[in-house]
């Protein structure tokens, strides 16, 4: 097993029963493991709702640490559509040339810094700063804000040894509330102001709704982006031929990004609450219980992907669900894809090779499954290309 591999812990259960069981704070979850079941269930919002008690569709559940509804994430159609329409154009800004130019600058600087330092711990000294700096573009806030976000550490909810950390979550919630107040006093061109000025159902969005959108923006794109960046660096360290291939054939970069997202599946799963007695993969699912859409397992489904446990950088057809599926697909996907496309291009142009020195894996405990999602820390040495 290579150091950069992410094994698939779901294979046996996916083939045999199609589902797994996980207890989570006494609110158990039936995990759906097959690509087809995951997509169908994601699509069926009437029976499998997102608009349950705030925090309940997240696994592990955030019911005990948050009352604010994340929007549009924890809202079902038809309301979902109107909320999504408010935020969608803003979250597509990463495709604009000026945004892309600034993102390229941020990433180029991060890679240059890494090359200058040589040996560094990737999670905290590369991925976290890069993610935070890139987020200033998505929010259209001053670059210096990223220093605050970097100081929060790698997960805004999690701290060492605890899956959920209410105190840490409060740091984020208080920060967002302050920023909203500031935007009310001094409107600007940032996302807070933009949201405060947006209309829903013939009225302006209220503070609680703005807070819900902002929490989603911060939390949804933090450890997911950090893990994707870190895992990609580990992969390229062990596959210098891939670094070379990306350099020689930049036209495959888009395919490579989709394939890395499939393989890493940075978000393992997302829950839904069952609204009526039904069946999932031949098992009864009672009303008011939880199921989860296990993206990570669906993305290794041998019925859909040839050689599912291999990274095939130029995989042509790749119907992965790494950004979710259907109405609730990832709002930040455009931003994340742009980060990864630019990062792969920059690394392939500037980096000769990367060596993994030491590392500690980040293993999620899902009861019957243990899944590696990335690293708690990974020390590497970057070697520059000699011109």
């Amino acid at each position: 097993m290579k150091k950069s591999s992410l094994p698939d812990p779901f294979e046996k259960a996916r083939l045999e029963s199609g589902c797994g069981k996980m207890n989570d704070q006494d609110d158990p979850v039936t995990m759906l493991l097959r690509h087809k079941d995951v997509r169908k269930t994601a699509h069926n919002w009437k029976t499998f709702q997102s608009g349950a008690e705030p925090g309940r569709i997240v696994v592990p559940s955030e019911v005990n640490i948050r009352d604010t509804r994340q929007i549009p994430f924890e809202v079902d159609p038809p309301e979902h559509k109107d909320y999504r329409a408010i935020v969608e154009p803003w979250f597509r800004r990463p495709l604009q040339p000026e945004y892309e130019k600034q993102l390229t600058e941020i990433i180029t600087n991060s890679v240059n810094e890494a090359l200058k330092t040589g040996t560094l711990e990737v999670v905290n000294s590369f991925s976290l700063p890069l993610q935070s700096r890139a987020l200033t573009l998505l929010l259209n806030t001053p670059f210096t804000e990223s220093e605050t976000w970097i100081s929060w550490g790698t997960h805004v909810f999690r701290s060492e040894g605890e899956a959920l950390d209410g105190d840490k979550a409060n740091i984020l919630y208080n920060y967002i509330e302050e920023q909203i107040e500031e935007a009310i006093k001094n409107p600007s061109e940032n996302l807070y102001s933009k949201l405060l000025d947006s209309e829903y159902d013939g009225r302006k969005l209220n503070k609680e709704e703005v807070k819900g959108i902002m929490i989603l923006t911060f939390a949804g794109g933090r450890d997911t982006v950090i893990n994707t960046i870190t895992n990609s660096i580990a992969y390229l360290a062990e596959h210098p031929e891939s670094l070379e291939k990306l350099h020689k054939e930049p036209e495959i970069i888009n395919n490579a990004v989709e394939e890395l997202v499939r393989y890493f599946s940075p978000l393992t799963q997302m829950g839904r609450v069952v609204t009526e007695d039904t069946h999932v993969c031949e098992h009864a699912a009672k009303a008011n219980t939880r199921v989860s859409l296990c993206w990570a397992s669906a993305n290794r489904d041998e019925k859909v992907f040839e050689n599912p446990n291999e990274i095939v950088l130029d995989r042509k057809v790749n119907p992965h669900v790494g950004f979710g599926f259907s109405h609730h697909n990832c709002l930040g996907a455009t931003h994340a894809r742009q980060i990864m496309r630019i990062l792969l291009k920059t690394l392939s142009e500037k980096v000769q090779s990367i060596e993994i020195l030491e590392y500690k894996e980040n293993i999620e405990d899902l009861d019957e499954f243990k899944r590696k999602v990335g690293y708690d820390s990974i020390q590497v040495k970057f070697n520059p290309k000699t011109v």
Partner: protein, 102 residues
């Protein structure tokens, strides 16, 4: 060289010419409304859904299984539905008319 006509949801008719690559990429380059091509053409996002004019389906062929599975869960899918990231531009599809689904 192939001429491809797109009809958008607000009934605008746009004819483009292309020589290679996917129909989705051509549409995205020319800002065809309703075709986003988020995943860049790997058949994972369904943001390039078109209805092929019935008389042109012989030129494009029908959707593959992976496309069908994807389209099955999309709104207003019919037997002429295709994800146009899976349509390669070539002389063979010259003159086709595509109605953008979104």
């Amino acid at each position: 060289m192939a001429k491809i006509t797109f009809i958008t949801s607000d009934d605008e008719k746009i004819t483009l010419e292309g020589t290679s690559g996917s129909v989705m990429a051509l549409a995205v380059e020319n800002n065809i409304k309703g075709i986003d091509g988020d995943c860049g053409g790997v058949c994972s996002c369904a943001t390039c859904h078109v209805h092929v004019a019935p008389e042109d389906i012989a030129k494009t062929g029908e959707a593959s299984e992976i496309e069908t599975d994807m389209l099955e869960l999309d709104d207003n899918t019919d037997e002429y539905s295709r994800l146009c990231c899976q349509l390669e531009i070539s002389d063979a599809i010259d003159g086709i008319v595509l109605k953008v689904a979104k």
